[in-house]
Amino acid sequence: MDQLALLLSQSWPALLDGLWISLQLLVLSCVLGFALAVPLAVARSSPQRWIALPSRLFMSAFRGTPLLVQIFILYYGLAQFEWVRDSALWLLVGDAFPCALLALTLNLAAYMAEDIRGGILGVPAGEKEAATAFGMSRLMVTWYIVVPRAIGISAPTLGNEIVLQLKSTALASTITVLDLTGVARRLSIESYTTDALLLAGLIYIVIAAVLSLLTRYGEMRLNRHQPR
């Protein structure tokens, strides 16, 4: 314990920098991933096969392979092709941070889309019928009725997904991003001890606890009009 306190007093600026990068990865990937997940889930639930199929392929590809492999494909794999290095895509995958963010976003979008799809299936048919009876077009029914209700229904799993995403951000350190895990790894190598790793673990637990409180609060707010 004393060792951890000493380490914290010595290297808190570096750890704080790492924490800031981790939180950036977390928040940005959650916002972008969620924005991507909604259209993916709507497309996946479409009765038209040619709309549903691409999103279905995307979801099974990203849910069926390890995140680490996805990060390596984007960061090391795409650099193999000259046309990628010459294109605008290189702005995204040429640098470690945006590349890690891209991989985390796409991965999370696939998982969230699956959750929201479950929510879409759970929207009561009567609500959709009522909306149609009010003269809403199909687009309006989807946008004003189905999507908000589906998000409300899937809120608990979505919140869980956010807490899990915090743990996924640690993988950014494998492509030289100095997030909390990256900083801890460097400190641990410099000192030949695992104290820095343990300290990082403690910080992750605290953030995970705060996050699960926040998501539970968000869930309550999102479904506050629902009878209990």
Binding site: S60, T65, P66, L68, V69, K167, L171, R185, T194
Partner: protein
């Protein structure tokens, strides 16, 4: 594509190690999960509380960090306390880390499943004079097993995907072999994509396996029409 063929034996070797690691961790993880669930349902408050604490802590830390701590930390621990130069093999470090993570999640799933077995079943078994062990083995476990199979499928798939992390600590799994091949051939996309496809196939293969288990576990129940 020819390069892929040249390294296919290496990649297969890596895939075998990935599966070996996953199955070994699964065995220890299931045992840890059962022990954890038993501790969480124990009558002793301190045991119950510490089991909850440990499983919450393990579920709050990134798997990658747990692996690093297990791999480097356990080696350090052994070296400082037993004055040896013994170093933990990456395989053992990987199994410890993956089994701990699996066990932490499994203990929660098992606890829920055991609580979901109707109380009347227990009372009936007790009034038939079955011993505590018989009740656990013949009444509780088969029913809890049936309830937790879908979650076990999920956890197994996560475990299989998490095995890719051991390539970072130098264990020669499928991803590490692809790393090496990519460095030599300068075709990283090809090899990483191949690894991704193998993972997809392995995960796709576990779905029918679990469907079979579920069918078997549900054979005493009427199928929902």
């Amino acid at each position: 594509m020819a390069a892929l063929f040249d390294y296919s034996a290496q990649l297969l070797e890596g895939a075998a190690l990935t599966l070996e690691l996953a199955f070994t961790s699964l065995c220890f993880g299931l045992l840890l999960g059962l022990a954890g669930a038993a501790a969480k349902m124990s009558a002793l408050p301190w045991l119950r509380q510490s089991a909850h604490l440990v499983s919450n802590v393990l579920r709050g830390i990134p798997e990658f960090l747990i692996l690093l701590i297990c791999y480097f930390g356990l080696s350090n621990l052994i070296n400082t306390h037993f004055a040896g130069t013994l170093s933990l093999s990456p395989f053992a470090g990987g199994v410890v880390a993956l089994a701990l993570v699996f066990g932490a999640y499994a203990s929660e799933v098992f606890r829920g499943a055991f609580l979901a077995v109707p109380k009347g079943q227990l009372e009936a078994a007790r009034s038939y004079g079955l011993s505590r062990w018989q009740i656990f083995w013949c009444v509780q476990l088969p029913q809890a097993w049936r309830i937790c199979l879908p979650s076990l499928n999920n956890m197994w798939q996560n475990l299989l995907k998490d095995t890719s992390l051991v390539s970072i600590v130098g264990l020669e799994d499928m991803l590490r072999k692809a790393n090496i091949a990519a460095q030599f051939t300068k075709q990283p996309f090809l090899f990483y994509a191949a690894v991704a496809v193998v993972y997809l196939l392995l995960l796709a293969a576990s779905n029918p396996a679990f469907a079979y288990f579920e069918k078997r576990a549900n054979r005493g129940y009427a199928s929902p029409a």
